[in-house]
């Protein structure tokens, strides 16, 4: 068997466009999950008691349902129920955010809870309000402690964008499928896809690890 990568070289702009969409979708997913997951995680730690049950229900259900199922529901079933048709990209963003935010919320909660209660007591003893204690003392340490888990969720978010290919979001994997079909060179196309995902993700996880190694002492109380 001989490998022929020429179809990939010929269509590099087509693939690069797909990669751009992959990274765009990943960046938006991470951003939205960070905001939503952060809010949910903090609400679980500091919010009113009645809010906790629905939040736990949300987190647990998202962790128990495959992202593909959430995606299919968002794209195909939601329009039937609500009548609103979502463009594939936005359906993908919503489904991925709903999933990743649940994990993010757990990371935030674990990070906050890992900071010794004595730190909060020390802040309160100085006369800080509870909100000031959280903002100035607990969160900065929690963020440092979250970094390793955050690195994992970051790479998972980027990889999971590939699932959006099933609803025809023209991201990298979807374009690879198109190219593989047109060129009859699936092995070369998917080998390239593997390499592209690896080259994209490897620096991300490495960077987060290096950052953590440098900052870890700031979160050690």
């Amino acid at each position: 068997m001989s490998l022929d990568f020429s179809p990939i070289l010929q269509s590099w702009q087509f693939l690069l466009g797909g990669l751009g969409l992959t990274l765009g979708l990943a960046a938006l997913t991470v951003l939205c999950s960070l905001v939503l997951g952060g809010a949910i995680g903090l609400a679980r730690c500091y919010g009113p008691a009645w809010l906790r049950l629905p939040l736990v229900f949300y987190i647990d259900s998202m962790r128990s349902v495959p992202v593909l199922v959430v995606l299919v529901w968002t794209y195909f079933a939601l329009p039937i129920v609500t009548g609103a048709v979502l463009p594939p990209f936005w359906a993908g963003l919503i489904a991925l955010t709903a999933q990743i935010a649940a994990y993010m919320a757990e990371i935030v909660r674990a990070g906050v809870e890992s900071v010794r209660p004595g730190q909060t007591r020390a802040a309160l003893a100085l006369g800080m309000s509870r909100a000031q204690a959280v903002r100035q003392v607990v969160l900065p340490q929690a963020v440092v402690r979250m970094l390793p888990a955050f690195g994992s969720i970051l790479s998972i978010a980027i990889k999971d964008t590939a699932i959006a290919s099933v609803i025809a979001v023209p991201e990298y994997l979807n374009r690879s499928q198109t190219l593989a079909g047109e060129s009859f060179r699936p092995i070369e196309v998917y080998l390239t896809a593997m390499a592209v995902y690896f080259i994209t993700l490897f620096p991300v996880t490495r960077t987060v690890d290096i950052a953590y190694a440098r900052l870890a002492h700031l979160g050690r109380s």
């Binding site: 020390a122 800080m128 000031q132 700031l218 050690r220």
Partner: protein, 255 residues
């Protein structure tokens, strides 16, 4: 009962009247009454779990009390809520585990109260912090993070941090219990200097020689009650209550 600051009109900073505190079924404080007068050093001693640290935490509202009252300068402390924050600013607290903020330099730790709580301008807060670091002998460690400081140095920074709020009274919760023996002395010296300046101090401690030398008044706790209180000479040399003598002899104290 003789007391160095014994004039009847001696200013009472903190007064505890029949203070009760319970954690579930565990009675932590079963009716504690005592006073701390201005410029006095009061040491609380007694076995672990006897209620000393709980009394400190109740004093600045980190724990609420279930009965009785605590007054600061004659005003009854609020049980909780917004009023408690204003009260906490008038008391400095030093913890057994230092509880320095690890993401801040020594200077930023000391400046954090003035900056966040008093909302002083940064320059002013840092000037105050520098002066206090110098006072505890750590001017050269201003830029160090807690992870690069020894236990004794961390505790001295923590004392400076509490002093930065210019409190009327300092609460020390076993400040040397987590320290290596060779660094206990430097912390006790800072505390002694503070006492000599006239700071009012309430100290939970297992350092009997410190209590003997520095305290004006010693209070012995057992099972949530005060079994004896008096000047150090009485407590350490001629305790009135046999259980005080038992406690001290368990610690190897021989006068």
């Amino acid at each position: 009962m003789t007391r160095q600051n014994d004039e009847p009109d001696a200013h009472v900073v903190l007064a505890y009247r029949d203070v009760h505190k319970q954690f579930g079924d565990f009675v932590a404080l079963a009716g504690v009454s005592m006073e701390v007068r201005k410029t006095e050093v009061v040491c609380l001693i007694g076995p672990s779990g006897s209620g000393k640290s709980t009394l400190l935490r109740c004093t600045n509202g980190l724990e609420s009390i279930d009965g009785g009252e605590i007054t600061l300068d004659g005003q009854v402390l609020p049980r909780h809520g917004r009023g408690m924050r204003a009260v906490r600013q008038r008391m400095g607290m030093v913890f057994q585990n230092f509880e320095l903020f690890p993401h801040m330099t020594a200077l930023a730790n000391v400046a954090s109260g003035p900056l966040t709580v008093l909302r002083l301008p940064r320059g002013e807060a840092e000037a105050r912090a520098s002066a206090l670091l110098a006072k505890v002998g750590l001017a050269d460690k201003a830029a160090s993070y807690p992870s690069n400081l020894s236990g004794g140095q961390q505790q001295r920074v923590a004392i400076a941090r509490a002093l930065a709020m210019q409190p009327e009274v300092m609460l020390f919760d076993e400040p040397t219990s987590a320290l290596d023996p060779e660094t206990i002395g430097e912390v006790l010296n800072v505390m002694k200097a503070l006492a000599e300046e006239g700071m009012t101090m309430l100290v939970v401690t297992h350092e009997m020689s410190f209590a003997r030398r520095v305290a004006d008044h010693v209070v012995v706790f057992e099972r949530g009650t005060i079994i004896e209180q008096g000047p150090p000479a009485q407590i350490f040399d001629a305790p009135l209550v046999p259980r005080t003598r038992d406690f001290l002899s368990h610690l190897g104290w021989e006068g």
